[in-house]
């Protein structure tokens, strides 16, 4: 009953969500996600979450500081909630963030959360436990106590990307559209699914204020026109009936093509993080497959046994993926650095040096890093 789906495509099949033909604006390709089953039991809206720059004290010495573009609130759909939001809610105070899940806040009747923040903030810190053993003084005391904490993540709001606003404004929303896949230079960078077509229409513009990886900015500076997907020519003497059939087939091909283009997000197995429940639904954050040198995805999903109600992905840069990749390998070897280096077929000091080149440097005790670099210097001095 409580088995988690192996990959996200399984969730899409549950709701019968498929892609529809894309709409192109310069280098941006927008692929709508259209559903055949419309459920009316949930209602998602913008919430009164803190907006803009937010600072919240985590404890005496720590402050959580972030830019929050918007928050969302999920409620059980009733006639009242569909027509109006009821009395204005108490503003979601920053102090409530000090709870265990500081980015998710479960009220009596609704679930408040900050989209993408869950993914970013939990990207490293929550997926991997702290090293269980004090391997040869290798890790420092703080990381043993607190685990792998990613201290900062840089990203840009969509307004920084040339043409994104125009692309979203020109997009022709489908009648049963519940989600959107966003490609920049034919690279999948964002994906959303909302519970109901009505919610999608209302929240369509929020895609502009989402986070996008900082590295993407360079790739959209030059914006070549992406080509639309055109139907193939038929042999001479085709009848109108043939054309009709071929047109239908072409639309199916486009769907298959988008299925192929989104395989890194939907078809690969994902790693699930601890979640929370809301009515029959479960909110989980996930981490896609981490391949060295590739980009990846983190994100959050709300789903039930019947369907997926919400999905939001965050694009991870190769650097971020690299860190997660090291974490995965370390974890597989019980955080033993020597065993991991051996398994990766690397010299121990080379492994330490490469690890120290990532954000994970803060976990390692200083003398190990010094030794690793010294070994590196001697090795390159040798004739």
């Amino acid at each position: 009953m409580n088995t988690m789906p192996a990959c996200l495509a399984e969730l899409l099949t549950r709701s019968e969500i498929v892609t529809a033909p894309d709409q192109v604006w310069q280098s941006i390709r927008l692929v709508p996600l259209v559903t055949t089953k419309v459920y009316d039991d949930l209602y998602l809206a913008k919430s009164a979450a803190p907006e803009g720059r937010v600072r919240a004290a985590v404890d005496k010495h720590k402050v959580y500081s972030a830019y929050v573009p918007h928050g969302l609130v999920l409620r059980a759909s009733t006639v009242a909630s569909r027509t109006q939001l009821g009395p204005p809610e108490q503003r979601w105070e920053a102090t409530s963030w000090e709870q265990k899940y500081r980015l998710v806040h479960k009220g009596k009747q609704a679930l408040h959360f900050l989209p993408q923040h869950l993914a970013i903030s939990s990207f490293l810190a929550q997926y991997f436990e702290a090293p269980p053993i004090y391997w040869k003084d290798f890790y420092n005391r703080r990381s043993l106590k607190e685990g792998v904490g990613l201290r900062t993540a840089n990203s840009l709001p969509g307004t920084y990307f040339d043409g994104l606003e125009t692309a979203l404004r020109h997009f022709e929303i489908y009648p049963r559209q519940v989600g959107m896949l966003l490609f920049m230079n034919d690279q999948l960078v964002n994906a959303v699914i909302y519970p109901h077509p009505r919610d999608y229409r209302a929240l369509h513009a929020l895609l502009l204020h989402d986070y996008y990886g900082q590295e993407l900015w360079w790739s959209t500076l030059h914006h070549p026109q992406m080509s639309p997907l055109l139907p193939d020519d038929l042999v001479q003497g085709a009848t109108l009936g043939d054309l009709k059939a071929h047109l239908h087939q072409h639309l199916q091909h486009i769907t298959d093509f988008h299925g192929y283009m989104t395989r890194s997000l939907f078809r690969e197995p994902v790693r699930w993080n601890k979640g929370m429940t809301y009515k029959d639904y479960r909110l989980h954050t996930f981490l896609g497959p981490m391949t060295y040198g590739q980009t990846g995805f983190a994100g959050e999903v709300i789903f039930s046994q019947e369907r997926v109600a919400y999905l939001h992905a965050f694009w991870l840069s190769p650097q971020q993926v690299k860190e997660a990749w090291y974490c995965q390998h370390l974890e597989a070897h019980n955080w033993n650095p020597e065993a991991t280096a051996r398994a990766l077929n690397m010299d121990f000091y080379t492994f330490v040096r490469k690890l120290a080149d990532t954000h994970l440097r803060h976990m390692i005790q200083g003398p190990w890093i010094e030794r690793a670099y010294k070994a590196h210097l001697t090795s390159i001095k040798r004739p």
């Binding site: 529809a20 033909p21 894309d22 709409q23 192109v24 709508p32 020109h170 022709e172 929303i173 489908y174 009648p175 639309p228 997907l229 055109l230 139907p231 020519d233 038929l234 085709a238 109108l240 054309l243 009709k244 047109l247 072409h250 639309l251 486009i254």
Partner: protein
């Protein structure tokens, strides 16, 4: 070489004629007003420099007022020693609404265009209006610039009224001037002024809007009364000779449910009163014509031109379905997203939603084997992209094909085309359909320019 030159000339003229039919400097969904303006200014300059004689002749063709105004400005601003232009210019001015003419003159004054021809034309126009005292009130700011610029001979009283610093202290014998002066001191006099002037004065005096509208009713022109009918809360009688089908459809699409009923009544009255148009031979009795109509989301238009593409499609549908019944040709419509049940009796409930999939309804239209197909769309095709062009590459259909596009695209100086095999015409008012069908062969290169110009008189 000669054929090549002829082709270039025809393409230039086609480009410009298309722009003159549909382009205005209003923002479209895909382009801002500034982009439109920039592209249009270039196009006008290009035509004026290269085809001046033809450019001057365009003034009297059925183009929209914005472009007519631009052409007249170009001809007067950059004079050439061609006296045969003068009657054309004057005829063009008479075709424009008065406010556009005065704006044009004021722009010439601001640009310091003060050659003898311009002065004479402005004086002749003002004299021809023969309503100077009324114009001095209604267009006071513009005429102050214009008349000073051309040294127009004014009576002593008019001169004082227009230019004297202490014009308010004087009592005028001319009743219009006197009313205008009094309106600066008494509310009663405000209600005797034209609506546009009274509105500004009422606001300056702090008169509440409701009270103002109640008293100004008698002064409203037919168009003003039509525009204000919802604000005034009383339905206005339709002035069929002043209104077009597009006006009614645009009005209907902007209404809520109660207003839509009102608009349906207006529509019925308009269609029953309208004189049967001299339709093109392509719409002769016994012919079958099919319209493929775009009601995708992009048909909702821009904020400045709300619902314009949708209104064009709907108006063409209403026009063709009405006249097909009256005049005996067969007509059928295919919408991209079939309208809800009850559309025929409540046409204004039509909504613009969803993607643009023209290929499927186009194939269906071809399957009916009509004599002609008219496509009304803004040409932004995406379900799938390039569908109509693909269909026309696969089959060579026998019916004649016309694509009417209400949206001008400044990026390529013409409305978006769907396929090289289908002629694309800009459209502003669907009641010009006979003319557009007449133009289509010329745009396809099947009719020489001389023939077009000679036959155009008969169509108009």
């Amino acid at each position: 070489m000669a054929t090549y030159t002829a082709q270039v000339e025809r393409d230039d003229l086609r480009l410009f004629f298309n722009a003159c039919l549909s382009a205005t400097a209003q923002a479209e969904r895909d382009a801002t007003w500034y982009e439109q303006r920039l592209a249009l200014d270039f196009l006008h300059e290009y035509m004026r420099v290269n085809y001046r004689a033809l450019y001057a002749k365009m003034v009297n063709l059925p183009i929209n007022d914005f472009n007519r105004q631009q052409i007249l400005y170009g001809l007067l601003r950059y004079p050439a020693s061609q006296t045969h232009e003068n009657p054309l210019i004057f005829q063009g001015l008479l075709r424009l609404p008065v406010h556009r003419v005065y704006k044009l003159f004021a722009r010439l004054a601001q640009d310091r265009v003060n050659n003898r021809r311009t002065r004479q034309i402005i004086r002749a126009y003002v004299a021809h209006r023969n309503n100077l005292h009324f114009d001095l009130i209604k267009y006071r700011r513009l005429l102050r610039q214009i008349l000073r610029h051309v040294h127009y001979p004014l009576s002593a009283e008019a001169y004082t009224f227009l230019f004297h610093k202490a014009w308010r202290q004087k009592v005028y014998t001319e009743p219009l001037f006197e009313t205008f002066r009094q309106a600066h001191f008494s509310e009663k006099a405000i209600y005797q002024l034209p609506y546009t002037i009274a509105e500004g004065l009422a606001q300056r005096k702090g008169i509440p809007r409701e009270r103002f509208l109640k008293h100004i009713r008698a002064q409203l022109t037919a168009q003003e009364a039509w525009r204000l009918q919802n604000t005034l809360g009383q339905s206005e009688a339709l002035h069929a000779e002043r209104m077009g089908l597009m006006d009614i459809v645009l009005y209907g699409l902007a209404q809520d449910e109660a207003g839509q009923q009102q608009a349906e009544e207006h529509l019925q009255r308009y269609l029953s009163q309208a004189k049967p148009p001299a339709l093109h031979q392509r719409l002769a009795p016994g012919q079958q014509v099919i319209a493929v109509l775009d009601n995708s989301f992009s048909a909702s238009g821009s904020r400045e031109r709300k619902h314009r593409p949708l209104a064009t499609a709907l108006a063409l549908h209403l026009y063709l379905s009405h006249w097909s019944r009256e005049l005996g040709f067969a007509y059928k419509a295919f919408w991209i997203h079939p309208p809800a049940v009850g559309f025929e009796s409540h046409p204004f409930r039509l909504k613009a939603t969803g993607p643009t999939g023209l290929a499927a309804p186009f194939i269906e239209a071809l399957q009916h084997e009509p004599q002609g197909i008219i496509v009304v769309s803004d040409g932004v095709e995406n379900h799938p992209a390039g569908g109509v062009a693909w269909v026309l590459r696969q089959v060579k259909p026998s019916p004649w094909l016309v694509h009417l596009n209400p949206v001008w695209n400044p990026m390529d100086y013409q409305p978006r085309t769907l396929s090289p095999a289908m002629v694309t015409l800009g459209v502003r008012d669907v009641e010009t359909l006979p003319l557009l069908l007449h133009l289509a062969p010329f745009f396809q290169g099947k009719m020489p320019l001389a023939e077009l110009l000679s036959t155009l008189e008969d169509v108009l």
